[in-house]
Amino acid sequence: MHIPDGYLGPATSGVFYAVMLPVWIAASRIVKKTMQARQVPLMAIGAAFSFVIMMFNLPIPGGSTGHAVGAVLVAVLLGPWAAVIAISVALAVQALLFGDGGITALGANCFNMAVVMPFVGYYVYKLISGGAPNDSNRRVIAAGVAGYIGINAAAFLAGVEFGLQPYLHHTAEGQALYCPYGLKVAVPLMAGEHLLIFGWVEAVVTALVVKYLEKQAPELLFREKVPMKIPTKLWVLLGILVLLSPLGLILPKLVKAGGAWGEWGADELKGLAGYIPAGLKKLDGLWQAPIPDYTFQGWEGKGLSHLSLAYIFSGILGMALVVLAVWLLGKYLSRPERRPLMPKRDFVGRSIRGALDFIKESIFADEIASRPGVLQSLDPRIKAVTVLFFILLVMFTRSLAVLGLIYIFCLILALFSRIGIGFFLKRTWIFIPFFSLLIAIPALFSFISPGRPVASVGPLMITHTGIKAAGVFFGRVVTSVSLAVLLSMTTRHFELLKALRFFGIPQMFVMVLGITYRYIYLFVEIVENTFRAIRSRVGSGMHYRKGQKVVAWNIAHLWIRSYALNEQVYQAMVSRGFRGEPRTLDHFQTRRRDWLWLFGAAMIILLLAYAEYRTKL
């Protein structure tokens, strides 16, 4: 459910960042008030715990494995407000350092998984468990239901976010610019797979872990009253945002009339006044669409009569392609010459492998970051800023040519940073882009992208707009993933985290990120050792029910250890003079080459933007 860069348009991404800002401020104030100085280690270790939950593979019926997001569990353990921070930090580390989830999509991902999921889950848990005693089955069931509903709420939202994209962002010819599927495809797809598969995994993990903790360490579950006293100023800010957010959604709609972004001329501006009510009207229909009867007005009003059938068809096709993608990927990853052959049902082996891969990868990343290359020699702050601007250009451009040029630039940079091109391609094409390529295929055809036919595959017509839509979507994803990977590969991770100070992120969060990063490794080692111990005692051939219990018990145990660790780390910090407001060392130094690079990058970005504007590439 981690949305990558390139799926959501800039307006949507921006709106979610804008929404998250006051939420983060409110959450950190509330947590600070209730935890005082303890919040720093608690948030960090909570975040490391959230990060690691996903490494616990759970055996599921049918002999496969899955993992939980764990956000509802974290909310039950830490309370929903602390969960907001802990999960956001975990998501930020995943996006920045491990390429899991986009950087521009971080706001949306946090909203889905760090706000909606924990809050919905937490209140469902409270509602069902009521005042039931600690060891009652009612609490266990409540946790399971909460996990199921929580993840499905988040998935539904992600589906809506995807589904809004073709409506919000498309060219005059109806060519989608971001995620090419409307609500009728995206929502059932996201909701479907979570209702059918991932929701159950989440439910099992949440229920069993809560069960063990209620029994073994009930004092470690969050019992306080959830503070809801948000400062008035924040409410006002939140209110303004709520009022403004539809405007943010309409804006790209108004702009869409022209070709390239920022290109609207005087007459279009003149038309703006008359346009707004029309835009609002469309939006009005949109809000009712997903829920009652799916009578969503097609985004351009073209070929409406065929659309329903086409949507269903493309939904099935999409699902089939996703399954195919996962299957192919699984095949590729478990090729015997690359890894020891492992039975699919071996969740123990998978968890060990996950942990080992993580550690191996990090050692490798560290090695690349210390090679003498162009990007490695730059100041991390300046590098982060320029990469961010390149990603923004990638997000805004509509031109396949611009995307192609930036992508070539990425490859050149990789070459000069002593990253083998083969390795770089493998690293940046695997998973997200590969997956996106398959997702883009249905968008080629006329039922998704009506327009001038170019070729036909059996009864299906490939259209000109379809090729452009699929191409731009895929190009955007692969280019932004490449940029993010370049940044995280050529920068030592701790430096990248510290560079965030430059973006105005408070010292406390930078400290929390650092501690999170530190303890992720400790936890990953614990995961690895735990599963080795399981293997040495019981092997991996166990019934999935037993396996689920083993995994849940180990997550519960990890939390018990995390909690103890948190107390000790807090003491270790206090012992060295920590009183709640951390100070960290700043040792960045900019040199002339940094400024040269900044200038060069700025020129390239401006040139590309200008070229697109002039030539309408």
Partner: protein, 267 residues
């Protein structure tokens, strides 16, 4: 005590200190002892005899639930640490090295970890950097500075943990099982560092159940019993000679190899 120095001022004075975790698990049942400035003290006892808890009390991370603990005449209470000024002065003077270096080293890099203490204690960044360089040289941890603690061996972790405290230049070093899990060579090196610190006049309190090292690190030994009270006190020679006391407190076991072990230690 060896008695070669003039009477030093009393640093810590504890009387009948009690502490229990969550009100249920007693850790200390009335401990009283005095530590003077410049003294080298070893706290020995089996696992769970309350040594770590006692060190945490001395570092004012927890406070006695009964009895009193005073530092240079001032009683240490939760309230006294609300005073930022006092807290700062105390933390600058006392440094605790935790038993588990994974607890002690919480920053993403060794460099940041060493800088953490002095920065929180209000030291200038320039001074911090200068001290860091000097310390890295003397402890020979220069190549480790930009590594992450999880990449270090246990010996390296202990060395770095030591550096995170030495950089504060405290007067009192509290060490919790500093040699646990270390090979003999690394262990000897660490003891050498402690001897150096002691020469410069620092007070050193070490909790350990490694009887081999106490002659090297202490002038005075306190034995913590299973009843979580002091079971005995004396010079290292006195305590090591008292086989009955050591046996009663699970510090040695009756086993043929032990006598041999003991001889090696004496030699």
């Amino acid at each position: 005590m060896t008695g070669q120095k003039e009477p030093a001022p009393v640093l810590f004075e504890c009387r009948d200190v009690h502490y229990s975790y969550q009100g249920r698990f007693p850790a200390l049942n009335g401990v009283g002892l005095t530590i003077t400035a410049g003294e080298r003290v070893a706290l020995v006892g089996a696992n769970g005899s309350g040594k770590s808890t006692f060190l945490h009390l001395l570092d004012a991370l927890i406070f006695p639930q009964r009895g009193t603990l005073a530092y240079i005449g001032k009683e240490l209470t939760e309230k006294s640490f609300l005073d930022a000024e006092f807290s700062l002065r105390f933390r600058r003077k006392i440094g605790l090295i935790f038993q588990n270096p994974d607890v002690q080293l919480f920053c993403p890099t060794v460099r940041e970890d060493i800088a953490f203490g002095p920065l929180q204690l209000g030291m200038e960044e320039k001074t911090v950097k200068a001290r860091l360089e000097l310390l890295a040289e003397t402890l020979q941890i220069g190549p480790l500075l930009d590594r992450s603690p999880h990449q270090l061996s246990l010996g390296e972790k202990r060395k770095v943990a030591f550096a995170t405290i030495l950089v504060i230049e405290p007067d009192v070093l509290l060490l919790d099982e500093p040699t646990a899990g270390l090979d003999p060579k690394t262990s000897t090196k660490l003891i050498g560092m402690l001897a150096e610190a002691s020469h410069s006049g620092k007070t050193i309190v070490t909790a350990t159940h490694d009887l081999h090292i106490i002659e090297d690190i202490a002038d005075k030994v306190y034995v913590f019993g299973q009843d979580k009270k002091l079971a005995g006190a004396g010079t290292p020679a006195e305590i090591l000679g008292d086989t009955a006391l050591l046996q009663a407190n699970n510090l040695i076991h009756i086993h043929p190899h032990h006598t041999r072990d003991h001889k090696v230690m004496k030699a």
